[in-house]
Protein backbone atom coordinates (compact mmCIF):
# COMPACT_ATOMS: atom_id res chain seq x y z
CA UNK A 1 0.00 0.00 0.00
CA UNK A 2 2.83 2.37 0.82
CA UNK A 3 4.27 2.05 -2.67
CA UNK A 4 0.91 2.64 -4.32
CA UNK A 5 0.35 5.74 -2.19
CA UNK A 6 3.82 7.04 -2.97
CA UNK A 7 3.31 6.45 -6.68
CA UNK A 8 -0.01 8.33 -6.81
CA UNK A 9 1.36 11.19 -4.70
CA UNK A 10 4.42 11.45 -6.94
CA UNK A 11 2.23 11.45 -10.04
CA UNK A 12 -0.06 14.16 -8.70
CA UNK A 13 2.73 16.39 -7.45
CA UNK A 14 4.53 16.07 -10.77
CA UNK A 15 1.35 16.98 -12.67
CA UNK A 16 0.90 19.96 -10.37
CA UNK A 17 4.50 21.08 -10.82
CA UNK A 18 4.21 20.86 -14.58
CA UNK A 19 0.79 22.36 -15.09
CA UNK A 20 0.41 24.51 -11.97
CA UNK A 21 -3.33 24.05 -12.00
CA UNK A 22 -4.45 24.01 -8.37
CA UNK A 23 -1.98 25.75 -6.05
CA UNK A 24 -1.49 29.00 -8.01
CA UNK A 25 -5.25 29.35 -8.46
CA UNK A 26 -5.87 28.74 -4.76
CA UNK A 27 -3.18 31.26 -3.82
CA UNK A 28 -4.46 33.89 -6.20
CA UNK A 29 -7.95 33.33 -4.87
CA UNK A 30 -6.72 33.79 -1.28
CA UNK A 31 -4.92 37.04 -1.98
CA UNK A 32 -7.87 38.44 -3.93
CA UNK A 33 -10.13 37.51 -1.04
CA UNK A 34 -7.90 39.38 1.43
CA UNK A 35 -8.16 42.46 -0.77
CA UNK A 36 -11.92 42.00 -0.97
CA UNK A 37 -12.12 41.70 2.80
CA UNK A 38 -10.18 44.93 3.15
CA UNK A 39 -12.81 46.78 1.15
CA UNK A 40 -15.82 44.84 2.40
CA UNK A 41 -14.90 45.41 6.06
CA UNK A 42 -13.41 48.86 5.32
CA UNK A 43 -10.45 48.22 7.60
CA UNK A 44 -6.74 48.74 7.18
CA UNK A 45 -5.96 45.98 9.65
CA UNK A 46 -7.83 43.30 11.55
CA UNK A 47 -7.08 41.56 14.83
CA UNK A 48 -8.48 38.98 17.22
CA UNK A 49 -11.68 37.20 16.23
CA UNK A 50 -12.09 39.21 13.05
CA UNK A 51 -8.60 38.28 11.89
CA UNK A 52 -9.18 34.60 12.64
CA UNK A 53 -12.49 34.72 10.78
CA UNK A 54 -11.03 36.39 7.71
CA UNK A 55 -8.10 33.98 7.58
CA UNK A 56 -10.21 30.84 7.99
CA UNK A 57 -12.97 31.84 5.60
CA UNK A 58 -10.38 32.59 2.95
CA UNK A 59 -8.46 29.37 3.49
CA UNK A 60 -11.64 27.27 3.49
CA UNK A 61 -12.95 28.71 0.25
CA UNK A 62 -9.52 28.31 -1.33
CA UNK A 63 -9.52 24.70 -0.15
CA UNK A 64 -12.90 24.12 -1.81
CA UNK A 65 -11.30 25.14 -5.11
CA UNK A 66 -8.66 22.48 -4.60
CA UNK A 67 -11.22 19.83 -3.64
CA UNK A 68 -13.24 20.13 -6.81
CA UNK A 69 -10.09 19.77 -8.94
CA UNK A 70 -8.74 16.80 -7.00
CA UNK A 71 -10.19 13.93 -9.02
CA UNK A 72 -10.85 15.65 -12.35
CA UNK A 73 -7.89 14.08 -14.15
CA UNK A 74 -8.83 10.65 -12.77
CA UNK A 75 -12.38 10.93 -14.07
CA UNK A 76 -11.71 12.59 -17.41
CA UNK A 77 -8.57 10.80 -18.44
CA UNK A 78 -9.27 7.32 -17.15
CA UNK A 79 -7.15 7.46 -14.03
CA UNK A 80 -9.85 5.65 -12.07
CA UNK A 81 -9.92 2.77 -14.56
CA UNK A 82 -6.16 2.48 -14.46
CA UNK A 83 -6.19 2.50 -10.70
CA UNK A 84 -8.95 -0.12 -10.47
CA UNK A 85 -7.02 -2.39 -12.84
CA UNK A 86 -3.90 -2.16 -10.71
CA UNK A 87 -3.59 -4.86 -8.02
CA UNK A 88 -3.48 -2.43 -5.12
CA UNK A 89 -5.68 -1.61 -2.16
CA UNK A 90 -8.30 0.96 -3.13
CA UNK A 91 -7.91 2.86 0.10
CA UNK A 92 -4.41 3.81 -0.99
CA UNK A 93 -5.98 6.18 -3.51
CA UNK A 94 -7.78 7.89 -0.65
CA UNK A 95 -4.61 8.18 1.43
CA UNK A 96 -2.65 9.47 -1.55
CA UNK A 97 -5.26 12.05 -2.54
CA UNK A 98 -5.61 13.27 1.03
CA UNK A 99 -1.84 13.63 1.22
CA UNK A 100 -1.83 15.56 -2.06
CA UNK A 101 -4.60 17.91 -0.92
CA UNK A 102 -2.77 18.35 2.40
CA UNK A 103 0.44 19.34 0.63
CA UNK A 104 -1.47 21.73 -1.64
CA UNK A 105 -2.97 23.39 1.41
CA UNK A 106 0.42 23.68 3.11
CA UNK A 107 1.91 25.15 -0.05
CA UNK A 108 -0.89 27.70 -0.33
CA UNK A 109 -0.63 28.66 3.33
CA UNK A 110 3.14 29.10 3.13
CA UNK A 111 2.42 32.06 0.88
CA UNK A 112 -1.10 33.07 1.88
CA UNK A 113 -0.48 33.46 5.63
CA UNK A 114 2.50 35.82 5.15
CA UNK A 115 0.43 37.71 2.59
CA UNK A 116 -2.37 37.94 5.14
CA UNK A 117 -0.01 39.27 7.80
CA UNK A 118 1.31 41.92 5.41
CA UNK A 119 -2.01 42.97 3.92
CA UNK A 120 -4.47 42.76 6.79
CA UNK A 121 -3.22 41.40 10.09
CA UNK A 122 -2.55 44.02 12.76
CA UNK A 123 -0.25 42.23 15.25
CA UNK A 124 2.78 40.38 13.97
CA UNK A 125 2.22 36.61 13.71
CA UNK A 126 5.89 35.72 14.17
CA UNK A 127 5.93 35.44 17.99
CA UNK A 128 3.05 32.95 17.82
CA UNK A 129 4.30 31.12 14.73
CA UNK A 130 4.66 27.67 16.39
CA UNK A 131 1.10 27.72 17.76
CA UNK A 132 -0.28 29.02 14.49
CA UNK A 133 1.52 26.31 12.55
CA UNK A 134 0.13 23.66 14.88
CA UNK A 135 -3.47 24.87 14.39
CA UNK A 136 -2.96 25.19 10.63
CA UNK A 137 -1.57 21.68 10.32
CA UNK A 138 -4.35 20.09 12.40
CA UNK A 139 -7.00 21.96 10.42
CA UNK A 140 -5.32 21.10 7.11
CA UNK A 141 -5.46 17.45 8.00
CA UNK A 142 -9.21 17.69 8.60
CA UNK A 143 -9.77 19.71 5.42
CA UNK A 144 -7.69 17.22 3.44
CA UNK A 145 -9.66 14.21 4.72
CA UNK A 146 -13.10 15.77 4.30
CA UNK A 147 -12.07 17.40 1.04
CA UNK A 148 -10.92 14.13 -0.47
CA UNK A 149 -14.18 12.49 0.50
CA UNK A 150 -16.29 15.36 -0.83
CA UNK A 151 -14.20 15.57 -3.99
CA UNK A 152 -14.76 11.86 -4.57
CA UNK A 153 -18.50 12.24 -3.97
CA UNK A 154 -18.68 15.27 -6.22
CA UNK A 155 -16.83 13.63 -9.10
CA UNK A 156 -19.59 11.02 -9.33
CA UNK A 157 -22.12 13.70 -10.18
CA UNK A 158 -22.62 15.83 -13.24
CA UNK A 159 -22.79 19.02 -11.20
CA UNK A 160 -19.41 18.77 -9.49
CA UNK A 161 -18.79 22.48 -9.12
CA UNK A 162 -22.17 22.86 -7.37
CA UNK A 163 -22.15 19.75 -5.22
CA UNK A 164 -18.62 20.07 -3.81
CA UNK A 165 -19.09 23.48 -2.14
CA UNK A 166 -22.58 22.82 -0.78
CA UNK A 167 -21.41 19.54 0.72
CA UNK A 168 -18.05 20.75 1.96
CA UNK A 169 -19.15 23.93 3.71
CA UNK A 170 -21.59 22.40 6.25
CA UNK A 171 -19.23 19.49 6.83
CA UNK A 172 -16.43 21.90 7.71
CA UNK A 173 -18.43 23.97 10.20
CA UNK A 174 -17.12 22.10 13.30
CA UNK A 175 -13.60 22.45 11.94
CA UNK A 176 -14.11 26.16 11.34
CA UNK A 177 -15.45 26.67 14.84
CA UNK A 178 -12.45 24.98 16.40
CA UNK A 179 -9.84 26.51 14.09
CA UNK A 180 -11.17 30.05 14.37
CA UNK A 181 -11.60 29.85 18.14
CA UNK A 182 -8.10 28.46 18.49
CA UNK A 183 -6.54 31.15 16.30
CA UNK A 184 -8.33 34.25 17.54
CA UNK A 185 -6.37 34.57 20.86
CA UNK A 186 -3.15 34.39 18.84
CA UNK A 187 -4.08 37.47 16.82
CA UNK A 188 -4.92 39.83 19.69
CA UNK A 189 -3.53 43.35 19.40
CA UNK A 190 -2.90 43.45 23.14
CA UNK A 191 -0.59 40.45 22.93
CA UNK A 192 -1.22 36.82 22.14
CA UNK A 193 -2.87 34.61 24.70
CA UNK A 194 -2.21 30.96 25.24
CA UNK A 195 -3.68 28.39 22.92
CA UNK A 196 -6.83 26.74 24.28
CA UNK A 197 -6.23 23.02 24.45
CA UNK A 198 -9.85 22.03 23.96
CA UNK A 199 -10.02 23.47 20.44
CA UNK A 200 -6.95 21.48 19.47
CA UNK A 201 -8.71 18.47 20.93
CA UNK A 202 -11.82 19.15 18.84
CA UNK A 203 -9.65 19.54 15.73
CA UNK A 204 -7.86 16.29 16.51
CA UNK A 205 -11.14 14.48 17.13
CA UNK A 206 -12.58 15.83 13.87
CA UNK A 207 -9.53 14.61 11.96
CA UNK A 208 -9.75 11.21 13.62
CA UNK A 209 -13.50 10.66 13.14
CA UNK A 210 -13.58 11.73 9.52
CA UNK A 211 -10.33 9.93 8.81
CA UNK A 212 -11.84 6.66 10.05
CA UNK A 213 -15.19 7.21 8.31
CA UNK A 214 -13.53 8.12 5.02
CA UNK A 215 -11.19 5.17 5.32
CA UNK A 216 -14.21 2.87 5.75
CA UNK A 217 -16.43 4.18 2.96
CA UNK A 218 -14.01 5.36 0.29
CA UNK A 219 -13.82 1.95 -1.40
CA UNK A 220 -17.46 2.14 -2.38
CA UNK A 221 -17.00 5.34 -4.34
CA UNK A 222 -14.55 3.63 -6.68
CA UNK A 223 -16.58 0.64 -7.81
CA UNK A 224 -17.59 0.63 -11.42
Amino acid sequence: MRRAVAAVVRKDLRVELRTGEAVPAMLLFSVSTFVLFHFALDRASVEGELAAGVLWMTLLFAAVLGMSRLFVAEREQGGFDGFLLAPVDRTSLFVAKAAVLFSFLVAVELAAVPAFSILLLGPSPWPVAPELVLVLLLADLGIAVVGTLVGALGIQTRARELIVPILALPLMIPLTIAAARATSPLFLEAGAEALAGRWLLVLGLYDLVFGLVAFAVFDFLLEE
Binding site: L149, L153, Q156, T157, R158, A159, L162, I163, I166, L167, L169, P170, L171, I173, P174, I177, A178, R181, R198, V202, L205, Y206, V209, F210, V213, A214, A216, V217, F220, L221, E223
Partner: protein, 243 residues
Amino acid sequence: MFARGLKPLSIASVVLIVGAFALVFFYAPNDADQGFVQKIFYLHVPLAIVALFGFVAGGVYGIRYLRTDDRSHDLRSYVAIHISLILAVAALVTGSIWARAAWGQWWVWDEPTLVSFLIVFLLYACYQPLRFSIEDPERQARTAAVFAIVAGAFVPLNFMAVRLAESLVHPRVLSATGGSMPGEMRLTFLVALTGMAVLFVTLWKYELTSKEASMQLRALKRALADEDDAWVPTRRSAAPQQI
Protein backbone atom coordinates in the same frame (compact mmCIF):
# COMPACT_ATOMS: atom_id res chain seq x y z
CA MET B 1 -43.14 -5.90 0.72
CA PHE B 2 -43.41 -2.76 2.81
CA ALA B 3 -47.17 -2.69 3.46
CA ARG B 4 -47.24 -5.16 6.34
CA GLY B 5 -48.62 -3.71 9.57
CA LEU B 6 -49.62 -0.48 7.93
CA LYS B 7 -53.19 -0.51 9.26
CA PRO B 8 -52.38 -0.94 12.98
CA LEU B 9 -49.56 1.57 12.62
CA SER B 10 -51.89 4.14 11.08
CA ILE B 11 -54.44 3.64 13.84
CA ALA B 12 -51.74 3.82 16.50
CA SER B 13 -50.33 7.07 15.12
CA VAL B 14 -53.77 8.69 14.89
CA VAL B 15 -54.59 7.64 18.46
CA LEU B 16 -51.22 8.74 19.83
CA ILE B 17 -51.11 12.07 18.04
CA VAL B 18 -54.70 12.93 18.98
CA GLY B 19 -54.01 11.76 22.53
CA ALA B 20 -50.84 13.79 22.72
CA PHE B 21 -52.62 16.96 21.60
CA ALA B 22 -55.42 16.31 24.04
CA LEU B 23 -52.87 15.95 26.83
CA VAL B 24 -51.05 19.07 25.69
CA PHE B 25 -54.16 21.22 25.77
CA PHE B 26 -56.16 19.75 28.65
CA TYR B 27 -53.72 17.99 30.97
CA ALA B 28 -50.24 19.50 30.91
CA PRO B 29 -49.96 22.62 33.08
CA ASN B 30 -49.03 26.00 31.65
CA ASP B 31 -45.38 26.86 32.10
CA ALA B 32 -44.78 29.24 35.01
CA ASP B 33 -42.48 31.57 33.03
CA GLN B 34 -43.65 31.32 29.48
CA GLY B 35 -47.32 30.49 29.88
CA PHE B 36 -49.28 28.94 27.05
CA VAL B 37 -46.65 29.40 24.35
CA GLN B 38 -44.39 26.88 26.00
CA LYS B 39 -46.75 24.17 24.74
CA ILE B 40 -45.11 24.37 21.31
CA PHE B 41 -42.37 22.43 23.08
CA TYR B 42 -44.48 19.25 22.79
CA LEU B 43 -44.39 19.63 19.03
CA HIS B 44 -40.95 21.15 18.48
CA VAL B 45 -38.82 18.77 20.53
CA PRO B 46 -40.37 15.50 19.26
CA LEU B 47 -40.07 16.79 15.68
CA ALA B 48 -36.39 17.55 16.18
CA ILE B 49 -35.57 14.30 17.98
CA VAL B 50 -37.42 12.13 15.48
CA ALA B 51 -35.82 13.98 12.55
CA LEU B 52 -32.33 13.37 13.98
CA PHE B 53 -33.08 9.69 14.53
CA GLY B 54 -34.45 9.50 10.99
CA PHE B 55 -31.21 10.95 9.63
CA VAL B 56 -29.18 8.43 11.58
CA ALA B 57 -31.52 5.63 10.42
CA GLY B 58 -30.80 6.76 6.86
CA GLY B 59 -27.10 6.24 7.59
CA VAL B 60 -27.74 2.79 9.07
CA TYR B 61 -29.69 1.72 5.96
CA GLY B 62 -26.86 3.21 3.92
CA ILE B 63 -24.43 0.84 5.66
CA ARG B 64 -26.81 -2.05 5.04
CA TYR B 65 -27.09 -1.17 1.39
CA LEU B 66 -23.32 -1.09 0.93
CA ARG B 67 -23.05 -4.41 2.78
CA THR B 68 -25.79 -6.31 0.97
CA ASP B 69 -26.19 -4.47 -2.36
CA ASP B 70 -29.94 -4.82 -1.80
CA ARG B 71 -31.66 -1.86 -3.47
CA SER B 72 -34.57 -1.92 -1.04
CA HIS B 73 -32.19 -0.65 1.66
CA ASP B 74 -31.31 2.27 -0.58
CA LEU B 75 -35.02 3.04 -0.89
CA ARG B 76 -35.43 2.79 2.89
CA SER B 77 -32.49 5.12 3.45
CA TYR B 78 -33.79 7.60 0.88
CA VAL B 79 -37.31 7.72 2.30
CA ALA B 80 -36.06 8.02 5.90
CA ILE B 81 -33.88 11.02 5.02
CA HIS B 82 -36.61 12.54 2.88
CA ILE B 83 -39.23 12.46 5.64
CA SER B 84 -36.67 13.60 8.22
CA LEU B 85 -35.93 16.63 6.07
CA ILE B 86 -39.61 17.57 6.14
CA LEU B 87 -39.75 17.10 9.92
CA ALA B 88 -36.54 19.13 10.25
CA VAL B 89 -38.09 22.08 8.43
CA ALA B 90 -41.07 21.86 10.78
CA ALA B 91 -38.73 21.66 13.79
CA LEU B 92 -36.80 24.74 12.64
CA VAL B 93 -39.99 26.71 12.08
CA THR B 94 -41.53 25.74 15.42
CA GLY B 95 -38.19 26.38 17.15
CA SER B 96 -38.03 29.82 15.62
CA ILE B 97 -41.57 30.61 16.76
CA TRP B 98 -40.77 29.40 20.25
CA ALA B 99 -37.55 31.46 20.34
CA ARG B 100 -39.51 34.54 19.30
CA ALA B 101 -42.06 33.97 22.03
CA ALA B 102 -39.64 33.01 24.78
CA TRP B 103 -36.61 35.20 24.07
CA GLY B 104 -38.09 37.85 21.79
CA GLN B 105 -36.03 36.96 18.74
CA TRP B 106 -36.66 34.72 15.74
CA TRP B 107 -33.17 33.37 15.79
CA VAL B 108 -30.76 33.05 18.71
CA TRP B 109 -27.16 32.25 17.88
CA ASP B 110 -26.02 31.48 21.42
CA GLU B 111 -28.27 28.47 21.53
CA PRO B 112 -26.27 25.40 20.55
CA THR B 113 -29.09 22.94 19.93
CA LEU B 114 -30.89 25.18 17.44
CA VAL B 115 -27.66 26.13 15.68
CA SER B 116 -26.41 22.52 15.44
CA PHE B 117 -29.77 21.49 14.12
CA LEU B 118 -29.60 24.13 11.41
CA ILE B 119 -26.13 22.94 10.37
CA VAL B 120 -27.29 19.32 10.23
CA PHE B 121 -30.29 20.41 8.20
CA LEU B 122 -28.07 22.35 5.77
CA LEU B 123 -25.92 19.28 5.27
CA TYR B 124 -28.83 16.90 4.68
CA ALA B 125 -30.46 19.41 2.36
CA CYS B 126 -27.63 18.48 -0.05
CA TYR B 127 -28.83 14.89 -0.15
CA GLN B 128 -31.49 15.44 -2.80
CA PRO B 129 -29.35 17.57 -5.15
CA LEU B 130 -26.54 15.03 -4.78
CA ARG B 131 -28.81 12.16 -5.81
CA PHE B 132 -30.44 14.20 -8.55
CA SER B 133 -27.13 14.96 -10.22
CA ILE B 134 -26.20 11.29 -10.65
CA GLU B 135 -27.96 9.44 -13.42
CA ASP B 136 -26.63 5.92 -13.20
CA PRO B 137 -28.95 4.30 -10.61
CA GLU B 138 -26.33 2.07 -9.06
CA ARG B 139 -23.81 4.85 -8.70
CA GLN B 140 -26.55 7.09 -7.36
CA ALA B 141 -27.41 4.55 -4.67
CA ARG B 142 -23.79 3.97 -3.69
CA THR B 143 -22.89 7.66 -3.54
CA ALA B 144 -26.03 8.43 -1.55
CA ALA B 145 -25.21 5.65 0.91
CA VAL B 146 -21.70 7.00 1.41
CA PHE B 147 -23.13 10.46 1.96
CA ALA B 148 -25.68 9.14 4.46
CA ILE B 149 -22.96 7.39 6.46
CA VAL B 150 -20.62 10.40 6.50
CA ALA B 151 -23.45 12.73 7.48
CA GLY B 152 -24.60 10.30 10.17
CA ALA B 153 -21.12 10.43 11.73
CA PHE B 154 -21.14 14.19 11.39
CA VAL B 155 -24.29 14.67 13.50
CA PRO B 156 -22.81 13.93 16.98
CA LEU B 157 -19.49 15.63 16.19
CA ASN B 158 -21.26 18.77 15.10
CA PHE B 159 -23.45 18.85 18.20
CA MET B 160 -20.37 18.57 20.37
CA ALA B 161 -18.42 21.31 18.59
CA VAL B 162 -21.31 23.76 18.58
CA ARG B 163 -22.13 23.06 22.21
CA LEU B 164 -18.53 23.78 23.21
CA ALA B 165 -18.65 27.02 21.28
CA GLU B 166 -21.81 28.49 22.74
CA SER B 167 -23.15 29.22 26.15
CA LEU B 168 -25.94 27.09 27.49
CA VAL B 169 -29.36 28.66 27.49
CA HIS B 170 -31.33 25.93 25.81
CA PRO B 171 -33.29 23.67 28.17
CA ARG B 172 -31.67 20.25 28.35
CA VAL B 173 -34.76 18.15 27.91
CA LEU B 174 -33.17 14.75 28.04
CA SER B 175 -30.23 15.46 30.30
CA ALA B 176 -28.94 12.91 32.76
CA THR B 177 -31.08 14.39 35.49
CA GLY B 178 -34.16 14.02 33.33
CA GLY B 179 -34.64 17.76 33.04
CA SER B 180 -36.70 19.62 35.56
CA MET B 181 -40.13 18.81 34.20
CA PRO B 182 -42.99 18.07 36.55
CA GLY B 183 -44.67 14.68 36.11
CA GLU B 184 -47.62 15.85 34.00
CA MET B 185 -45.34 17.63 31.57
CA ARG B 186 -43.05 14.66 31.30
CA LEU B 187 -45.91 12.26 30.62
CA THR B 188 -47.32 14.58 27.96
CA PHE B 189 -43.90 14.97 26.40
CA LEU B 190 -43.29 11.22 26.32
CA VAL B 191 -46.68 10.59 24.69
CA ALA B 192 -45.99 13.33 22.13
CA LEU B 193 -42.55 11.89 21.42
CA THR B 194 -43.90 8.36 20.99
CA GLY B 195 -46.69 9.68 18.78
CA MET B 196 -44.23 11.51 16.58
CA ALA B 197 -41.98 8.44 16.33
CA VAL B 198 -44.91 6.20 15.39
CA LEU B 199 -46.10 8.80 12.90
CA PHE B 200 -42.65 8.84 11.35
CA VAL B 201 -42.58 5.07 10.96
CA THR B 202 -46.10 5.11 9.50
CA LEU B 203 -45.29 7.82 6.98
CA TRP B 204 -42.07 6.04 6.12
CA LYS B 205 -43.93 2.82 5.40
CA TYR B 206 -46.62 4.61 3.38
CA GLU B 207 -44.00 6.30 1.26
CA LEU B 208 -42.10 3.03 0.78
CA THR B 209 -45.30 1.25 -0.23
CA SER B 210 -46.26 4.02 -2.61
CA LYS B 211 -42.82 4.06 -4.21
CA GLU B 212 -42.91 0.30 -4.60
CA ALA B 213 -46.40 0.43 -6.12
CA SER B 214 -45.38 3.03 -8.68
CA MET B 215 -42.31 0.95 -9.56
CA GLN B 216 -44.54 -2.07 -10.15
CA LEU B 217 -46.93 0.03 -12.19
CA ARG B 218 -44.09 1.26 -14.35
CA ALA B 219 -42.87 -2.28 -14.86
CA LEU B 220 -46.37 -3.44 -15.84
CA LYS B 221 -46.80 -0.55 -18.26
CA ARG B 222 -43.52 -1.43 -19.85
CA ALA B 223 -44.54 -5.07 -20.13
CA LEU B 224 -47.91 -4.22 -21.69
CA ALA B 225 -46.64 -1.60 -24.12
CA ASP B 226 -46.50 -2.34 -27.86
CA GLU B 227 -43.27 -3.11 -29.56
CA ASP B 228 -43.18 0.44 -30.92
CA ASP B 229 -43.38 2.28 -27.64
CA ALA B 230 -41.89 -0.41 -25.44
CA TRP B 231 -39.18 1.98 -24.43
CA VAL B 232 -40.61 4.25 -21.76
CA PRO B 233 -38.11 6.94 -20.86
CA THR B 234 -37.49 7.12 -17.14
CA ARG B 235 -37.65 10.56 -15.64
CA ARG B 236 -34.46 11.72 -13.98
CA SER B 237 -35.15 11.65 -10.29
CA ALA B 238 -33.54 11.88 -6.90
CA ALA B 239 -35.59 8.93 -5.73
CA PRO B 240 -34.57 5.34 -6.42
CA GLN B 241 -36.36 4.15 -9.57
CA GLN B 242 -36.17 0.41 -9.03
CA ILE B 243 -35.42 -2.06 -6.32
